[in-house]
């Protein structure tokens, strides 16, 4: 039936893109966007907005698209989000705004993510950036980390008139947007840098190569460098490994290492100096978005690539779109499978791994059915590289060097959800450093909440006009 389905989005052909790092999805053009925007019925009480962690006025910006006022649409989005081109690409809309869209009850929901992306891409190409901000109020805030949480917090505070400096440990800003998510999902020069530049244009300074807790501590930033409040958005932390034999063999990498070499250090390009191991057969262990990114990267570097995951397809934590893309490109899924040992040759190089088959038993505390080992199901996969994509544990660098900063039993920083307040006065936190590894948009939500918290704190304590 007419209008029941989304306007399809053009994508690079699967077997072609499996050999390059160009973006998979081409996005809508003006014609497609206005056609899709017309599917929005402009609910009076829009459910989609409730599904958006940063509460973008979704019907509002979509209406502007139907009027072909794309910069107007960008202004609406900018009220809530500093990173629309990023979110339009990497947000899990299917479990957020689009899941609640009334059109989804009978048919497909409005393609909100692709519309957001269209607005951001169109405005970037036209050289338009929403720049509404309050006059300077003379107060200084330090933001630690230039990932989604930090960028959002800094952008919101700059719009309120604060002088914000972001401290980034790596040599490029962007956090996971730069080192983690690959070019084929999120182009760096084309999409990430321009959105970060927009935040700079709001007056935010970004100082790279500063490792808070090492180069300088939070106490020093506040006592000696004159920052009145600090937001910690330092991200996820240290990669987890399984603790199985052979895990330190040559050819076993964390997904963080593999992706950082490829994305931040651009090892896939010949004129960059950083090396990367291009396996012949690569096994990625894990089922999240990071596992999909690592597998699809290994594939593009020329390897036959497997995903090994201990639960079934229904439990894959990755977005459905990423799983589908991975399958189309030729990633081989070995589900209900778990590695038990990595084999090496006499020089310590990976030759393969022993796995066991799993079956799903009773639900565990996460509500998912617990995978249990099938007796006698051991088998071997030959491989010359194994990539562990098992999540991360918090980096202790900041918590261990900041006085009176409380952490929980998982060593995550404790911060109040509504405003990011930590146990330390004037210090706020949000994103993966607080919650453990989550999504870009949840980090942005925390960055926004903390910006409001910092504004309230400084308004109350410093009587900002």
């Amino acid at each position: 039936m007419e209008g029941m389905k989304k306007v399809p989005v053009r994508e690079q052909e699967a077997l072609v893109r499996a050999h390059n790092f160009d973006e998979v999805c081409y996005g809508y053009n003006m014609e497609e966007a206005t056609e899709e925007a017309a599917r929005c019925i402009q609910c009076k009480n829009p459910r989609c907005v409730k599904g958006c962690p940063v509460e973008i006025d979704i019907p509002g910006f979509i209406k502007k698209i139907t009027e072909k006022d794309i910069t107007g649409a960008a202004d609406v989005i900018a009220e809530a989000s500093a990173l629309p081109a990023v979110c339009g690409r990497v947000c899990p809309q299917e479990t957020q705004c689009e899941e609640l869209c009334i059109r989804g009850v009978k048919g497909e929901p409005v393609s909100i993510g692709k519309l957001e992306r269209f607005v951001a891409d169109y405005c970037r190409e036209q050289g338009y950036a929403p720049m509404k901000k309050e006059p300077d109020n003379g107060h200084r805030v330090a933001v630690i980390g230039s990932g989604p949480a930090g960028i959002t917090c800094a952008g919101d505070l700059a719009k309120l008139g604060y002088k914000v400096t972001i401290f980034e440990a790596l040599h490029e800003p962007g956090g996971v947007l730069t080192y983690g998510i690959p070019e084929f999902r999120l182009p760096k020069a084309g999409v990430v840098q321009p959105e970060i530049d927009n935040v700079r244009k709001l007056g935010v300074d970004i100082e790279c190569n500063v490792v808070i807790g090492k180069s300088v501590t939070i106490d020093q930033l506040m006592d000696e460098e004159g920052y009145e409040a600090v937001f910690i958005g330092s991200g996820a932390g240290l990669p987890k490994f399984m603790g199985i034999p052979g895990e330190n063999a040559n050819g076993v990498f964390s997904a963080n290492e593999f992706l950082t070499r490829n994305n931040l250090m651009k090892a896939y390009l010949d004129d960059y100096a950083t090396p990367i191991f291009r396996g012949r057969r690569v096994v990625v262990v894990g089922g999240g978005n990071v596992a999909m990114d690592a597998a699809r990267t290994a594939l593009r570097l020329g390897a036959e690539t497997y995903i090994v995951y201990r639960r079934s397809e229904a439990e894959l934590p990755a977005r459905v779109e990423e799983v589908e893309h991975a399958k189309q490109e030729g990633i081989i899924f070995r589900l209900l499978t778990n590695p038990t040992e990595i084999h090496t040759d006499e020089k310590g190089w990976v030759t393969g791994m022993t796995c066991v088959e799993m079956e799903l038993g009773e639900p565990d505390e996460s509500g998912r059915r617990r995978p249990v080992v099938k007796q006698g199901s051991e088998f071997t996969i030959e491989a010359d590289a194994v990539i562990m994509a098992l999540g991360t544990s918090p980096n202790p660098l900041i918590a261990s060097t900041t006085k009176n900063l409380e952490t929980d039993r998982w060593k995550c920083i404790v911060a109040r959800e509504e405003d990011g307040q930590t146990s330390r006065e004037g210090v706020f936190a949000g994103g993966d450093a607080v919650t453990g590894a989550a999504t870009v948009i949840l980090a942005m939500q925390a960055g926004r909440a903390a910006a409001r918290g910092i504004h309230k704190y400084l308004t109350d304590t410093c009587t900002i006009a």
Binding site: A169, L170, H171, Y179, C208, N209, V210, V211, K214, S215, V216, G237, L238, P239, F241, E247, N248, A249, N250, F253, S254, N256, E257, T260, R261, M265, K266, D271, Y272, A273, T274, P275, F277, K347, G348, N395, P396, L397
Partner: protein, 295 residues
């Protein structure tokens, strides 16, 4: 940008640079390292901090050419800039945070092999500034590869210099000197050994026999240096540690040396060697050219 104030060749393929890096110079301590990048396409090269001047906001680094990136680095002159310098990274040497009365009671022996003299120097200097004279052994393949002799002699208690080929001072490996000192009746409470992995391994084998606790500084392959990538995994006492955040200094008697040396070969595959910049050796510290890692 991080300006190079001084760049000099101190031995064959070995260079010393003084670099403006205010945030590194302000709080760095002996035992810590930094990461540099030559240019916007360069790799991140970890190097131990050899010296620092808090007032002039500079740090001193020493490195050896072992691959394309360090070769490019060696061509930088005073007045040129590094694209990036980040640090200080890793933990300071244990004695920095131990109570000074405790440290004063211990007899320290420092052992430096090849470019390892660079990371050993600030530790000995720190000891000297705190009124502690330590015995120091500096070894290298040959006379021209003995580094920082003058600087070291100003801060060391007894300085023992040895060359493998006997071209200068004593003849033999650093392990021979340790054995000689013990044969003479000298005893120590802590040994700090820094240099090529093979040298640190053999020092540890000897000091284990001598019952001398030994700290080594590991220089594994690294990317970010902040704990994020896990490339720098080292097995210490059967547990996996990240050299960048748990180290770089560890109990040398607990290290799985075979694994550590295998891991240094990661980007040295036959087919990749020509293309991939060598990453081991003089990056960080160590890499005297004796261990075969650069051949």
């Amino acid at each position: 940008m991080y300006r190079i104030l001084k760049a000099e060749k101190v031995a064959d393929k070995i260079f010393l640079m003084v670099v403006e890096a205010p945030r590194v110079a302000e709080y760095c301590q002996p035992g810590q390292f930094l990461i540099v990048r030559n240019d916007e396409k360069g790799e991140r090269i970890p190097l131990t901090i050899c010296d620092y001047d808090r007032e002039r906001k500079t740090v001193t680094i020493v490195f050896q050419i072992v691959g394309a990136s360090t070769l490019m680095m060696s061509m930088l002159k005073a007045g040129d800039c590094f694209h990036d310098v980040v640090g200080p990274l890793g933990l300071a040497s244990e004695f920095i945070t131990d109570p000074i009365e405790e440290v004063r009671k211990r007899r320290y022996l420092f052992v430096a092999g090849g470019v390892g003299a660079a990371p050993v120097y600030p530790q000995v200097k720190w000891m000297h500034e705190n009124g502690i004279d330590c015995d120091v052994i500096v070894g290298a393949k040959t006379k021209d590869l003995i580094l920082l002799e003058e600087e070291m002699s100003r801060v060391a208690g007894n300085l023992y210099i040895t060359t493998d080929d006997g071209s200068y001072k004593r003849k033999g490996m650093v392990t021979q000197v340790i054995q000689d000192l013990y044969d003479e009746g000298k005893r120590y409470d802590v040994c700090v050994a820094i240099g090529p992995m093979i040298m640190m391994k053999f020092v540890c084998l000897l000091t284990e026999k001598l019952g001398l606790p030994t700290i080594v500084s590991m220089n594994p392959i690294m990317v970010d240096g902040t704990g994020m990538c896990g490339a720098c995994r080292v097995s210490v006492g059967g547990k996996t540690k990240f050299a960048c955040v748990d180290g770089p200094e560890f109990d040398g008697h607990q290290i799985d040396w075979t694994q550590a040396m295998e891991r240094q070969q990661l980007y040295r595959t036959e087919e990749g060697r020509a293309m991939l910049a060598a990453q081991e050796g003089a990056t960080h510290h160590g890499g005297c050219g004796q261990c075969g890692g650069d051949r």
